[in-house]
Every structure is written in structure tokens, then in C-alpha cells.
């Protein structure tokens, strides 16, 4: 596997902890990432809203760079980058579109016909590294940690472009987190929108949508929400004081990147995972998990004691019986 790595702009800015933990977790799993030389922005949200060919060219430039570096696959942590790169690659099948992009990039259209495959880091880990290999390398499994995996609205959609997991009910992150020893709660809002960049212009929309997500996670009994998208993470983590929580406010739902939990389970030091960059104290989740474990142990102990007492009683009764017979 010759894997190119596309960090994306947010990886160097708002979601630096996602970027760091992705690199650290991949290193711990022995996955070699080759950063695309001289990569540029994929166009993010504005480019494709303005001009499809421009958006395609921005993404194609990075894919061409990956191909030059000798890579057959590009992995990116950010779903928005993923969506742009994949859409660009998908559109290259159209001759007219390819010719337009070729003119913008000064590239031959033929070269653009065969661009590297694009995957999210999540897809790479689940499909290429494999859950069994990951499970084998887990050093500190999460005990008692209940998590709500949140995929966001664009990681699996549109289905015919993304071609990964179920578009409405994805399960890859669930499986990954289960492999790490965490307990996945039934979370029905896996692919609902958090409000995305409306946080800038219409905070009320984000407040309602993100609030619903956090409320559902809490109601499902989750100790933390786990995400794979910088924007989702920001809305859910940073805005907990702004969002409308159904049934009263609370600001204590940690929101992890899945790579942070993966790295932690693999034994990567917290400092390399950027846990300190999270707004809501991640320690809350681990303390709750510890409480669950303690409660379970106490119950088990009580059960054992009860069983022992019962056995002793039975022994005593038997002894009395025997004594009577004698």
C-alpha cells in the first residue's frame, strides 16, 4: 500500500489535534503516510459553490501531486476534503469536465483520467489495516466507556460518489470503537447534520441541530461523542454553551476525534493526541467510565458474596441434615 496523506487546511489550524492524533495513531499501527508534496487547499466550501471546474482543478492538483509522488491512494482525515477530492475524481470520468480542468491546470486530460483512489483515514484503517490487526495492537482497551459515534452528514453521502459504508446507517466507526473495547450506544443521529458552517451566519440553526445531537447522545447514555470531522467537532465541542439542549442545559459531553481514542487505546501518550486541546474536559468521560466499571465490580462482588453466602447456608443445612441422620 502506497498511501499519500492529505492533511487539509483545518488540520493545520482549527483541528490540529485531529491531525496530530491521526499521525500518531497511524504511526503506532505501522501505517506510513507520505504527505503530498506542495499540497494546496481543496477549495473547501466556497469553490464548488462558485464554479465546479475550479473546485475540480483545486482537488485534482493535489491528486496529481500524489500520483507524482508514486502513491496509488490518498487518505485524508477531513470529510469535507474527502468529499471534494472524491467528487473531483468522480467528475473526471466526464470528458468535457476533464478537458476544462486540464486547461486550468496545464495538464494533459489523459493524465487526469487515472487519478489515485481517495479514502478517508477511517476507511483506510477499517478496510486496509483491518479491525483484527487493530484489535491485536490495543494495549489499553476502554472499559466501561460508552460512546456515541457520529459520522456527520457527508462522510458517506452521496452514496454513489463516496462508496463507503451504508449512507444512512454506517457502522465502520462503531466497529472500530468496539474493537477498542468501548461500548457503542444506539445513536440514531449518526449521519444528521450538525449545522456545519452556519455557525458563522445563523447560530440559531447550529444551536438547534447540534443541540439535538448532543441531547440524543446524552439520552442514549453516552459518556462521549466520537467524531471524524473537524467542523462537527468544533460545533459539538466548542458550542456546548450556545446550543439548545433538549431538557435542560449541560456542558459536560466530551467530543473526541476517533483517532484520539484509537491512539489512546494503542498506548500513545496523551500529549501526542492533543487531548488538552478539547474544550470540554475529556477526563469527564474517563471518570464516568471508571464509575461504570467500579459499579460493575461492586455488583459482581455483591453477587459473589451472595452466592458464597448461599453456598455456605446450603453446606450448613446439609451438615445439619447429616447430623440429624447420624
Amino acid at each position: 500500500m502506497n498511501l499519500a496523506y492529505y492533511p487539509g487546511c483545518s488540520g493545520l489550524g482549527t483541528s490540529r489535534e485531529y491531525e496530530r492524533s491521526t499521525r500518531a495513531a497511524c504511526a503506532a499501527l505501522g501505517v506510513k503516510l507520505t504527505e503530498i508534496p506542495d499540497w494546496s487547499c481543496c477549495g473547501s466550501t466556497p469553490a464548488h459553490a462558485l464554479e465546479h471546474a475550479l473546485s475540480g482543478a483545486l482537488s485534482a492538483r493535489n491528486l496529481v501531486g500524489a500520483a507524482r509522488a508514486g502513491c496509488d491512494t490518498v487518505a485524508t482525515p477531513c470529510p469535507s476534503c474527502l468529499s471534494n477530492l472524491k467528487t473531483a475524481r468522480h467528475r473526471m470520468a466526464d470528458d468535457g469536465f476533464r478537458a476544462k480542468v486540464g486547461r486550468l491546470l496545464d495538464e494533459s486530460a489523459d493524465k487526469l483520467a487515472d487519478l489515485p483512489d481517495v479514502q478517508s483515514v477511517l476507511e483506510t484503517l477499517v478496510t486496509r489495516v483491518g479491525l483484527d490487526a487493530i484489535r491485536a495492537k490495543v494495549r489499553q482497551p476502554f472499559a466501561g466507556l460508552r460512546v456515541a459515534p457520529y459520522y456527520g452528514c457527508i462522510m458517506t453521502r452521496p452514496a454513489d460518489v463516496m462508496r463507503f459504508d451504508d449512507p444512512e446507517n454506517p457502522t465502520s466507526m462503531d466497529d472500530l470503537l468496539t474493537a477498542l473495547g468501548a461500548e457503542v450506544v444506539p445513536f440514531p443521529y449518526k449521519v444528521e447534520c450538525c449545522g456545519a458552517s452556519y455557525g458563522v451566519t445563523r447560530r440559531d440553526i447550529v444551536a438547534r441541530l447540534s443541540g439535538r445531537l448532543l441531547g440524543a447522545a446524552r439520552d442514549a447514555g453516552a459518556h462521549a461523542v466520537v467524531v471524524a470531522c473537524p467542523l462537527c467537532q468544533m460545533n459539538l465541542d466548542l458550542r456546548q454553551t450556545q446550543v439548545e439542549w433538549p431538557g435542560g442545559k449541560a456542558v459536560d459531553m466530551p467530543v473526541f476525534y476517533f483517532t484520539q481514542l484509537l491512539g489512546r487505546a494503542l498506548g500513545v501518550p496523551d500529549a501526542e493526541l492533543g487531548l488538552e486541546q478539547l474544550c470540554v474536559d475529556p477526563g469527564i468521560a474517563f471518570r464516568r467510565a471508571a464509575q461504570v466499571v467500579a459499579a460493575r465490580q461492586a455488583e459482581e462482588a455483591a453477587q459473589a458474596a451472595k452466592a458464597a453466602a448461599k453456598a455456605a447456608q446450603a453446606r450448613q443445612a446439609a451438615a445439619v441434615n447429616e447430623g440429624g441422620r447420624a
Binding site: D166, E168, N169, P188, Y189, E192, D219
Partner: protein
Amino acid sequence: MRIGVFVCHCGSNIGGTVDVPGVAEVARAYPDVVFSSDTMYACSEPGQAAIVDAIREHALDGVVVASCTPRMHEPTFRRTVERAGLNRYMFEMANIREHVSWIGKDREANSNKAAELVRMAVEKLRLNAPLYPKSFDVTKRVLVIGGGVAGIQAALDCADGGIEVVLVERESTIGGKMAKLDKTFPTVDCSSCILGPKMVDVSQHPNIRLYAHAEVEKIGGYVGNFKVDVRRKATYVDWELCTGCGLCMEKCPSRKSPDAFNEHVGVTTSINIPFPQAIPKKAIIDPASCRQFVKGKCGVCAKVCPTGAIRYDMEDQVVTEEVGAIITATGYDLFDYTKYAEYGGGRYPDVITSLQYERLLSASGPTGGHVKRPSDGKEPKTVVFIQCVGSRDRSVDRPYCSGFCCMYTAKQAVLTKDHIPDSRSYVFYMDIRANGKMYEEFTRRAMEEYGVQYVRGRVSMIVPQGDTYLVRGVDTLLGEQVEVPADLVVLAVGAESSHGAPQLAEKLRISYDNYGFFMESHCKLRPVETNTAGVYLAGACQGPKDIPSSVGQGSAAAAKVLGLFSRGRLESDPQISQVDVRRCVGCGKCITTCPYGAIEWMELRGEMKARVIETVCQGCGICTVTCPQGAIQLQHFTDNQILAEVNALCLS
């Protein structure tokens, strides 16, 4: 030879883009053509009369009609020339509508092409020879595949018409989907009360032989003389001895067998009679859950059976039946609702299908007719119905309308109010399609008298919330998003072709569409016939249909069979292969390539030669292209005739 040419305008169908009089003019110069004219509608009565007159007046030996597809009117014109005293095979047709006028707009190019097609037909006709059909006997028995309401109706009508019927049903009881329904729309009368007597009639009719729990395995032969292998699958109960007393069901200790009749709502015993009105009312063992089969020990049913009917060692049995015609009434299956992951079907216990809900409503269902949620047995107070689940949705490859979901949803909403008077029902719909007799009135009654809330729009998602469900959708009339908290969600699943339908179609040598529904011979004028002679369609195997249409088509198919059998003998098609024994070298290549097994060996003065079995040959022509000697020729399509056509096109 004296040939007459008739070029048809077909109104503006052909005349609009082809210079029809011009083509007729050109045709006058073709070899042997002594008469040529154009005609507005060649197939009409005056059009045919003109052909008859011309044949008599000009002493024609052969006729070419240039008009539509031979599929449509070749038989018509063959009868026309026959009326004028010609042999019906002294006729050729040039298709200048489907092959010319409907596909191009260039008038000059079209006219040239039409003239060339006419020339090919003339050249072929010059080599035509009169052919004479032979007649053969008909086995006056009919096979009906599928024992749903359409198959039952077809079987009863045929049997009442005095012919023997073999009815093959895949399940262990007849009745099909209708037997699972509680009530029927728009009259809201009890489904099993109107179907039940018909089912009993089937079991008691002296002319009907019923094979339940059986499947058609192999079909050979041709119209009038089909040979059908039916696999009678093992039931592990000797049905000759079983009286249907139900004692085995009472005593069976394995009570976790999936209850297929109740659409897997609830469980049943491993040995069971699917439902009280089952026909035949015989027990059957499900070996997947039976302890005797799984663990090798139990045998309770064998011990308690008063007639000793249990046979754990029973095996499948293949019986061969000879019939003269076949009616397929294999019905439909329901769309797999788990494909809509956003509705959570299969994940959320209280998101169920319409047919499952039908079983919950039914007095003979798993809850005795009390509507209870599968998750906790509580009575739902708010029921949301979602229509078009697997209908009119290209994203799941079901672009067609299933036709009956609007109506059964209205019926179920009405019944919900009857069962739970203080309940509320919501129906998310795309359009209401209520086009049958009294159908529109019924849906309006559901809205107006029963207060069912109809919301026009699709549901985007169903989310569990505590022990209820939040149904999120859009009201496209209000232009607003709506959220309805529901206790129970019923998905109005659409219809798709019965599983295994394409495989059966291939056995029957009939065509089927992209979705597995069987193709009728003509979508408007031959709706119950197929392109294979002697094979007829009834009910939803041809496309989604409600009960009245299925019954109507069952009767129509029966009428076709009775019509076919009313002729004592059938005529064989003379357009079949013929061996020139002087040329045949006895290599046997034709025998190995014939897909119908229509060629056999024969001994002729000490030499082995090929011989065509006339009644089996289908006239496909594969043997003629295989024969290295050119000794085997397809009548009416000989090598010389086809070469004449090619030469007409390429050399002239």
C-alpha cells in the same frame, strides 16, 4: 409470378415521414410486380377488401404489404390473402413503421429505405412456396402455477369449464397474499370470508389436482402437449393420513419456529398448519427448527399423531404431468424494507411492514386481532403510515407505482380507528392513487369520516425517542418540516416480482421485464397471453395488481385456455426445419445444437440421417446454420430466400 404491393400510410404514422405514393410508384418497377398501390389503412376493412379485389382482378400469386410490424398484423394479412384464394405463406410484410418512419425524420432517406425494404420483401416472395400446416392432438389439461387468488380463480374457471387442472403451489397452503389480509378495500369485508369458500372449492373440485408445497422443476414440449416435472417437496407428514386435527401442534415442544404465515410477527411450532382455514389443512414440519432434525431426538409429534402420519425420513418426490396449456399466477413479493436504513426497518421493533400490520389486525393473527406493538405489547395511540416504501423511487431501483399501497394504507388507517377509537393516524403520501371503482370515495372517507391525517411529503428519518419514535418528514403542501411522535410506524411496502420469477420465466420460455415481472404479448390487446403459445398470465406476476384485477385476469386466462381447448386439434406452424435426406451426411451436428431436442436420428436404407420432429421444432433456425452441407432448411426462411433479400439490398 405475379406480385401485388400495398404500401400503407398508417394515417400519419408512416405517411408523415415517408413518401408513401412514391414508394408504391418505385415498387411498380420491381421484378414480377404487376400491381402496386398505396392505401390509408391496409389493415382496415376497405384496405383488406382492396387487397382481395386486387388479387382477383390482377390474378396475383403473391402479396407484399409494407406497413407496421409483422407481430401486429401478419396474421391479419395472411387471412386476407387466404380469403382471396392464395396460400397464406404467399405473403410478405415489410416493416416500414417501426423500422423506418418511427425512427427517422429525414423524408428522403426514409422513403429510400422503405423502398429498399419493399424490394427485399418482393425478392423473398419470388422464392416463397405454399406451406400447409399439420394438425395434432391437444392434451385437454391445464397447469396453473401459483395458488393465490388469481391462480385459484383461473383453476376454478377452467375446472368448471370441464377440463382437468393441475394446481401447483409453492407454500404448504393456497390462498397467497390475500389469505394473509384481514379486510379488503374498499368494502372492508373480511378477506378470508370471501376467499375461504373459493379455497374450499379448489380442494373439493373433482377436476382439480392440487400439489401444495411443490414447485415446477422442468417444462418441456409445446402448446397442446407440455410435459411438466413437479417437485413435491418433503413435508415430513404423510398428507394421505394427516387429518389436520392439530394435536401435533398442541404438543410440539419447539415453539420458536419463524411464523412465515404471520410475516414473522410472533413464532409458531415446528410442526404446524399455517392457519386455521389452510387448504390443504395438513401439517408440515420445518426441519430448520424441529428438534428431531436439529438434535436428533424428540419425536413428540410422531408419538401423539393419532393416524401415524409423521415421516421424518420423507424425501422430495418428482411427478410428471402432461398438460396442454399453462397459466402462471405466481404473484408478487414485498419490497425488502430494510433497504431504507433511515427508516430503521429491521432495527427498530415497532417499524413494521403493512402486511405485518395486516396480521396484527387480523383476528386469526398472532395477537388475536388486538393491535399491539411488537416491542412491548402496548396498544399504540399514534400510528404513522409511510407510503411508497419501495415504490416510485429510482434510488432503490423501483421506479414503478405498486398500485395498491394507497388503498391498503387507507384501509389500515380506517381499521386502526375501528380497533383503537382514541388513536390518531398519520399517512405520509406522495400522491393518492385511487383509480378503481369506489376507491377515491374510500380514501376520502378515511380522511373525512375517520379523521386520518394525510401529510403530503416523504419521511426522511425515523428516530427512536424513549419508547416512542419521532417521524421526521416534510409537509410539501405547507412547505414545512414536520415531526410526528409515533407509537407504531407502518411502512407501506411496494410490490416486486415473486422471488424466482425470472428463473420460472426461462423454464416457460416467456419474457420478463427489468424487474422480473412477466411480459404480456401485447400490453393493451393481449394482456393475458405471452409470446409462447399456450402459456398465459394471471394476476400480479405480470405487474402489481389488486384483488379485482387479479381475479379478472385469472378468469381471462381461463377463458383463453378454454378457447384453445375448444378446438379439437391444433394446427402446427409449418415454418419449421426440413431435412433434405439426399444431402444429409449424417454428421449429427444439428441434433447436438437443437435447443428443443427436435431433431432425431433415423435409418434410411442402412444410413443414419437426421429427421425433424415437426411438433417439437420451434423454427429457430440454429440447425440450418450449423449444417455443413446446407441439407437442413428452415421453411419460409431458406438460404436462397435470405440470400435473395441480401442481394436485393446489396446488389441493386
